[in-house]
């Protein structure tokens, strides 16, 4: 027979349990944005005071801004008051119980891409066993990384464990005043990745290859910060070739990179968000701000991107070449089909002496896709002997699609050397027939021709990623010709 004390304990714990449960139920903010919501986000994430202050400043700045309209993409107005800016992470119980419950079309695409079964389950939100290959692999690698002093994990963890680094670097490359979407992100971002490579360390693996599954579900406002200290090197992979569906239509991410003296950052992206249906309905709006700062002398930042998803892609991964002799690179493949619209390119800002930049952009348009390259080369007065090479090629498939090029060149130093090459070609019946005459099917011919067109960009991707990117293009182009 329980004593009175035990009884009391039992009751209180029950009540506590109940109360806790209620707490979870309300663990989702009402739609719309105000200071209280931002306080809630910061509070839920147990952030230090400086974070909250920064978020609030970003929010009040955002309120003074208007959504940009200079881009060559068209979409119905976004209702920012209907967005839920904070909701508790989903538990696995909400997801499908097995792959049988998942859209077979999606699974077929996964199979074509050769994605392992376990990973398919993770991608579709199917609950997986505790013993999971990739996770244990991840743990092993994580130990190896920390031996080298590399910090790599979620942004939230970094805020808790390395607030000094966050405070020092956050917003130094993309300030919250930068643009409308960056300001919004700064106010409300919920998670992302953080990476710090200490002085002289060469990161021994492509970061995120083994972690990409864990990096998922970071929400629609993602924030990434990568710092390469003096003489270090890191190659970072973002995204996944698997088509991901998301209930959130608006995505506004921010990525900041900082490279100190003699450091090098290679950042590769494969973006394959849901593009919407044939009519373009339901696709993701992807408004991203990515910028790297070559802060130190002889530093180098390379962006490589393969953009095949989203209804709207709006992104201009850029380099601020501050340190003398620093190098910025941008390699891009953007594919638009159906009703997809992409307005993408780069900005190379030459400030230091002897800075160099290299831009290679390949746009492919099929169906009713609209593909815009927008690039800026700016050379400041003090940037003597700056050099830029820009190559910008467009390929059209069919006669309903479009390719557009908007280069902006601002040069204030007469010692600058700058080259710009641009071409537009139509995938030729002649090319396809030539391949057919040698025994290749029209589908193989198209994929071969397109992959040849993109080769200069693919060779910049880490091997494994390059193979996936090729396959991804093939799948996306199926049925685009003939």
């Amino acid at each position: 027979m329980p004593t009175e004390t035990e009884k009391i304990q039992e009751i209180t714990s029950e009540e506590y349990k109940y109360g806790f449960y209620t707490d979870i139920e309300t663990d989702s903010a009402p739609p719309g944005l105000n200071e209280d919501i931002i306080r809630l986000i910061s509070n839920k994430k147990n952030e230090p005071e400086f974070m909250l202050e920064w978020r609030l400043k970003a929010y009040s700045h955002w309120l003074t801004m208007t959504e940009p309209a200079w881009h060559n993409v068209h979409y119905p107005p976004i209702d920012y008051d209907s967005i839920v800016y904070y909701s508790a992470p989903k538990t696995q119980e909400d997801g499908p119980k097995s792959l049988d419950e998942v859209d077979p079309e999606l699974l077929e695409t996964y199979n074509k891409l050769g994605i392992p079964l376990q990973e398919q389950k993770m991608l579709t939100g199917v609950a997986v066993d505790a013993v999971f290959d990739s996770v244990s692999v991840a743990t092993t690698y994580k130990a190896k990384l920390s031996e080298l002093g590399i910090i790599f994990g979620s942004f939230s963890d970094a805020v808790q464990e390395h607030p000094d680094l966050i405070q020092k670097y956050l917003g130094t490359v993309v300030p919250y005043t930068d643009n409308y979407f960056a300001a919004l992100n700064s106010a409300v971002f919920t998670d992302g990745s953080f990476c710090y490579i200490p002085e002289g360390v060469r990161c021994p693996m492509e970061l995120s290859t083994y972690f990409r599954i864990n990096a998922m579900n970071t929400g629609q406002f993602e924030r990434t910060l990568i710092i390469a200290d003096k003489g270090s090197y890191v190659s970072y992979l973002e995204g996944c070739t698997a088509p991901m569906r998301d209930e959130n239509q608006l995505h506004a991410a921010v990525v900041e990179l900082v490279a100190h003296d003699d450091a090098q950052i290679k950042y590769s992206t494969i973006q394959n968000w849901y593009p919407g249906d044939e009519e373009g309905k339901g696709g993701i709006y992807n408004f991203v701000t990515k910028r790297g700062k070559c802060e130190g002398v002889n530093s180098k930042i390379s962006w490589t991107q393969v953009e095949t998803g989203s209804a709207i892609t709006w992104k201009y991964p850029s380099c601020v070449l501050l340190g003398d002799n620093s190098i910025g690179e941008f390699y891009s493949v953007a594919l638009t089909k159906m009703r997809q619209q992409a307005d993408t390119g780069t900005k190379m800002i030459h400030i230091g002496k002897n800075t160099r930049s290299n831009v290679v952009s390949k746009g492919i348009s099929a169906g009713h896709g609209q593909n815009t390259y927008r690039g800026m080369i700016k050379v400041f007065k003090g940037a003597s002997n700056a050099r830029n090479y820009t190559q910008c090629d467009s390929m059209l498939m069919g006669d309903q699609c479009g390719a557009h090029t908007f280069p902006y060149i601002e040069i204030e130093n007469s010692t600058t050397q700058m080259e710009h090459e641009a071409s537009t070609s139509k995938i030729g019946e002649d090319q396809i027939f030539y391949c057919q005459q040698r025994g290749l099917s029209p589908e193989d011919a198209v994929s071969m021709i397109v992959n040849g067109f993109c080769k200069e960009v693919f060779k910049e991707l880490p091997m494994e990623f390059a193979v996936e990117a090729q396959k991804l293009l093939e799948i996306n182009l199926e049925g685009s010709v003939g």
Binding site: G428, D430, Q431, F433, Y434, C435, Q436, Q437, R438, G439, L440, S441, P442, D444, M448, I449, N451, G452, F453, C454, K455, E456
Partner: protein
């Protein structure tokens, strides 16, 4: 092996070929000559399966099958090869990668195993030696930045690797200097055998000095107006194509 019966072809409503009959047996080399616009290249394109050319009448039987029912890639896989008059460039795709994909597509159709990289490389070496082709040609993207002569040699190289049963050479000699012409001719001759047939389309007799045909057909205004052996080519060289119009009327009357 190939039988063309009463072939009529139109391009954009214009009659180009107006009743051609031709029979080719295994191992034979047929040359088709004729002035510009006589329908020579159209015939080659129709055999290869180009869609823009509309066959309005007639039949083409290839190894007992209706060729006109087959897609261009199926024809290629069944052993029909065309050396293009104007080979197309495919930037970014290496010549060897392209050829390996082509060879494997053909082998797959025939129920053969795909060749691996090592076997393919030794095959390529062998053919390069045979045709005296340099490394630079095979490691570059397909026809990209090739000179006219290089493009033609590359076509012959493709032919050597793919080992077709019926090879159609569409004015492969045009625009070649005498040295390049010899290389092309030597290549063709080295590939001649009892099973392989050739249709050599040419405007001039000079290629036939090196590639000696079994038969020569003269195409004029979409019809074969004269057939004969190699001496016909020499005859044409002396007399030219003028006067053939009159013969046509004699033939048809």
């Amino acid at each position: 092996m190939l039988e063309i019966r009463n072939l009529h072809v139109e391009v954009e409503g214009k009659k180009i070929i107006r009743g051609v009959d031709l029979q080719i047996q295994a191992g034979e080399v047929h040359s088709i000559m004729g002035p510009n616009g006589s329908g020579k290249s159209t015939l080659a394109q129709v055999l290869a399966g180009r869609e823009e050319y509309e066959v309005t009448d007639g039949q083409i039987i290839y190894n007992g099958e209706d060729l006109l029912e087959m897609s261009p890639e199926d024809r290629a896989r069944q052993g029909i090869f065309m050396a293009f008059q104007y080979p197309v460039a495919i930037p970014g795709v290496s010549n060897t990668y392209f050829l390996k994909a082509a060879l494997n597509a053909i082998r797959k159709e025939r129920g053969l195993e795909e060749v691996d990289a090592a076997d393919f490389l030794s095959l390529v070496r062998e053919k390069m030696e045979l045709l005296q082709i340099s490394d630079s040609l095979i490691n570059r993207p397909v026809n990209d930045g090739f000179s006219g002569g290089e493009k033609k040699r590359n076509e012959i190289f493709h032919m050597a690797v793919l080992e077709p049963q019926l090879a159609i050479l569409d004015e492969t000699d045009s625009g070649l200097d005498i040295d390049a012409l010899k290389v092309v001719a030597d290549g063709v001759n080295s590939l001649r055998n009892e099973e392989r047939s050739f249709i050599v389309i040419t405007h001039y007799q000079r290629l036939l000095d090196y590639v000696v045909p079994d038969y020569v057909h003269v195409l004029y205004d979409g019809q074969v107006v004269k057939s004969g052996d190699k001496s016909l080519a020499l005859e044409l060289e002396e007399q030219g194509y003028s006067g053939l119009g009159e013969e046509t009327s004699t033939v048809s009357s």
